[in-house]
């Protein structure tokens, strides 16, 4: 009898859990050095865990400087974590892309890792469609001594040359 009760609560609980992870957010481990020094500052110690907020990107409202996770344009099974540098209409000066200056097309954004030179980002694959944005990384939650909010900030050297005005 207790077994049937357990099965019933699992069958009812799993959809509630999935819905929560889909709409509110979840915690994921950051791998790699592409976002140093903000994430994984010391590659030898343990990896950081971040809270990825799905709620924050439900209308695809992202700002320049936000740290986001997105589905890799090269491999749909892989998710990558980068910082948004430019939104649609902006002109960015690129670092090693095929053209020196790029105007971001409609519905796209330009993402870069903080660790310039050690990151696979828009400088390799170009502007990415906003539809690939999966979640916004809002907090580092583990290890506990690194608990902090991830601020939207851009180094002044990586600000877009011109920024378009968006009416939202």
């Amino acid at each position: 009898m207790w077994f049937r009760g357990l099965c019933k609560s699992i069958i009812l609980g799993v959809p509630i859990g999935i819905t929560f992870l889909d709409t509110v957010g979840y915690v994921a481990r950051v791998e790699g050095i592409s976002m140093q020094p903000v994430l994984n500052p010391d590659s030898k110690s343990n990896n950081d865990y971040v809270f990825l907020s799905r709620w924050a990107v439900k209308d695809f409202n992202v700002q320049r400087g936000d740290v986001i996770s997105l589905v890799s344009p090269k491999d749909p099974n892989q998710k990558i974590i980068k910082r948004i540098v430019a939104l649609q209409g902006d002109i960015v000066s690129t670092l090693g892309y095929k053209s020196q200056y790029v105007k971001i097309p409609e519905g796209h954004c330009w993402v870069e890792g903080d660790h310039t030179g050690h990151t696979l980002d828009s400088n390799t694959f170009g502007p990415v469609s906003l539809g690939l944005v999966n979640a916004k990384a809002s907090y580092i939650v583990w290890p506990p001594n690194r608990w902090q909010r991830l601020e939207a900030k851009l180094p002044s050297s990586r600000k877009p040359l011109t920024t378009a005005v968006h009416h939202t």
Partner: protein, 154 residues
């Protein structure tokens, strides 16, 4: 006492509502859902206001094939969905009419075209589409009733 009963009853009803909403969310987002299509780009296969049944399992496991009709987020507007046919998979060579050249579809991308090639905004306009934008694969048409038909080629 009556008030306590009311509270208990309300909680019970709210629980059922939450369960139902969550089960519906999971079904429609991970298993299959119904889509009303509009626009001329897939004529004569699909017409405006046809209702299609789509499934989300094939795209998740990258089992898409050439000739499948898929629903994807539009690359230029993530809030809009497009319904096109997969013409080429990664590594295939596609020929573009204008400008006249050929290109290889890059890794992780597919080439989407509408069946109505004279009236369709598709990969010929915005290039290869990342597979991550594909949401679901069209299985069959369920409305209008006299045109119920399977839309898979296999």
């Amino acid at each position: 006492m009556a008030f306590m009963k009311f509270i208990a009853k309300s909680c019970e009803v709210a629980g059922y509502v939450i369960q139902t909403v969550c089960v519906a969310h999971c079904t429609f987002n991970h298993v299959g859902d119904f889509v009303v299509c509009s626009g001329p780009s897939m004529e004569p296969t699909l017409e405006s206001n046809n209702i299609l049944f789509t499934e989300h399992i094939t795209p998740r496991f990258q089992r898409l094939r050439r000739g499948d009709i898929v629903i994807a987020k539009s690359p230029s507007n993530p809030k809009q969905n497009i319904c096109k046919r997969i013409k080429a998979l990664p590594g295939d060579r596609v020929r573009v009419q204008f400008p006249k050249r050929s290109q290889i579809v890059p890794r992780g991308h597919v080439w989407l075209e509408g069946d109505n090639s004279s009236n369709s905004a598709d990969s010929r306009l915005y290039g290869p589409v990342p597979e991550g934008l594909i949401k679901s694969r069209v299985v069959c048409r369920v409305w209008p009733l006299d045109k119920i038909s399977s839309l898979t080629q296999y």
